[in-house]
């Protein structure tokens, strides 16, 4: 069971209170009608799915209900950072180096 920190509630809670929403910082095309089918497919389905340090969306669905973002090492499941929705993506390489990943 993962322990996850909610940056809104400011507490660590068990994974069962949360829902993972996949890769973070995927921007919806600002003008969908001018987006090509290939780009739209990319937006909908293509994810980096990397082995390593990764930014993903989480929702504290059985708590405050808010979406936030977290940086997780997909190999060890260690969380390296939690931050509020709307905040910029941290430097993943720097976080990985700091954590010795």
């Amino acid at each position: 069971m993962l322990l996850i920190y909610c940056p809104y509630c400011q507490v660590k809670r068990a994974e069962t209170e949360f829902h993972c929403g996949g890769e973070a910082h995927i921007a919806r095309p600002s003008d969908p009608s001018k987006t090509t089918d290939e780009d739209w497919v990319d937006f909908l389905y293509t994810r980096s799915n990397i082995k390593g340090v990764y930014a993903e969306r989480w929702r504290h669905i059985h708590g405050c209900g808010r979406f936030f973002n977290a940086v997780r090492d997909t190999v060890s499941d260690d969380f390296l950072k939690f931050y509020k929705a709307g905040e910029p993506m941290p430097d993943l390489n720097a976080l990985a180096a700091e954590a010795g990943k």
Binding site: C9, V11, T16, G63, C64, G65
Partner: protein, 191 residues
């Protein structure tokens, strides 16, 4: 039980028999009350608090209470407001008229959920049979309120006093929640 903290709102329902009554633990159904779900941005909180008669708490997982009023932090833009059942319309209208022109959502959810009062020296032990939260007074002081999961049902837990908690669940889940609470508490009788 701290009536002051809960604004005198969370009281046992006199018409209901106790679900459990041991010397170290009791589980009682709480009397009905008015529950409002309120969502708004920071700029509207002052006016909402004045209309409700109680400031809305902004610290995560905290609550404010006064005579016949309680405001519970549910999220950064979401509160549960509690008042006596017969004041529902007056409270609703007061907030609505104070907030005309402010974007907000105010919804009567009084009948959506039910509350049981879990009280006694074994109350924390009992809640921990189904909830992964540290209920020590340092981590979860009196007045703390949170939504969480009890076994597989979403619940709200509000600490009314050191050994007294209000546990609220959606009405259709309450038999599951109170049933498991009572069943787990039977271990104490056997011990």
């Amino acid at each position: 039980m701290s009536d002051v903290l809960a604004g005198g709102l969370i009281t046992p329902d006199a018409g209901e028999t106790p679900l459990l009554s041991l010397s170290s633990l009791s589980i009682l159904k709480a009397a009905p009350l008015a529950r409002l779900s309120f969502r708004a941005r920071e700029a509207s909180l002052g006016a909402a608090g004045t209309a409700f008669g109680l400031d809305l708490p902004v610290a995560p997982l905290s609550s404010n209470s006064a005579e016949k009023r309680a405001a519970l932090w549910m999220g950064p833009d979401e509160w549960t407001l509690l008042a006596p059942e017969d004041e529902l319309q007056a409270v609703f209208d007061a907030i609505e008229s104070a907030l005309s022109g402010h974007p907000h959502a105010l919804v009567d959810v009084s009948d959506r959920s039910e509350t049981v009062i879990v009280s006694g020296e074994q109350a924390v032990w009992l809640l921990n049979t189904g909830i992964f939260i540290d209920f020590s007074l340092e981590e979860f002081p009196v007045g703390t309120v949170t939504r969480t999961v009890f076994h597989k049902a979403p619940v709200m837990v509000w600490r009314l006093a050191e050994e007294t908690f209000a546990v609220e669940a959606w009405a259709t889940f309450m038999d599951y929640v109170s049933g498991l609470l009572v069943q787990s508490a039977k271990e104490l009788e056997a011990a």
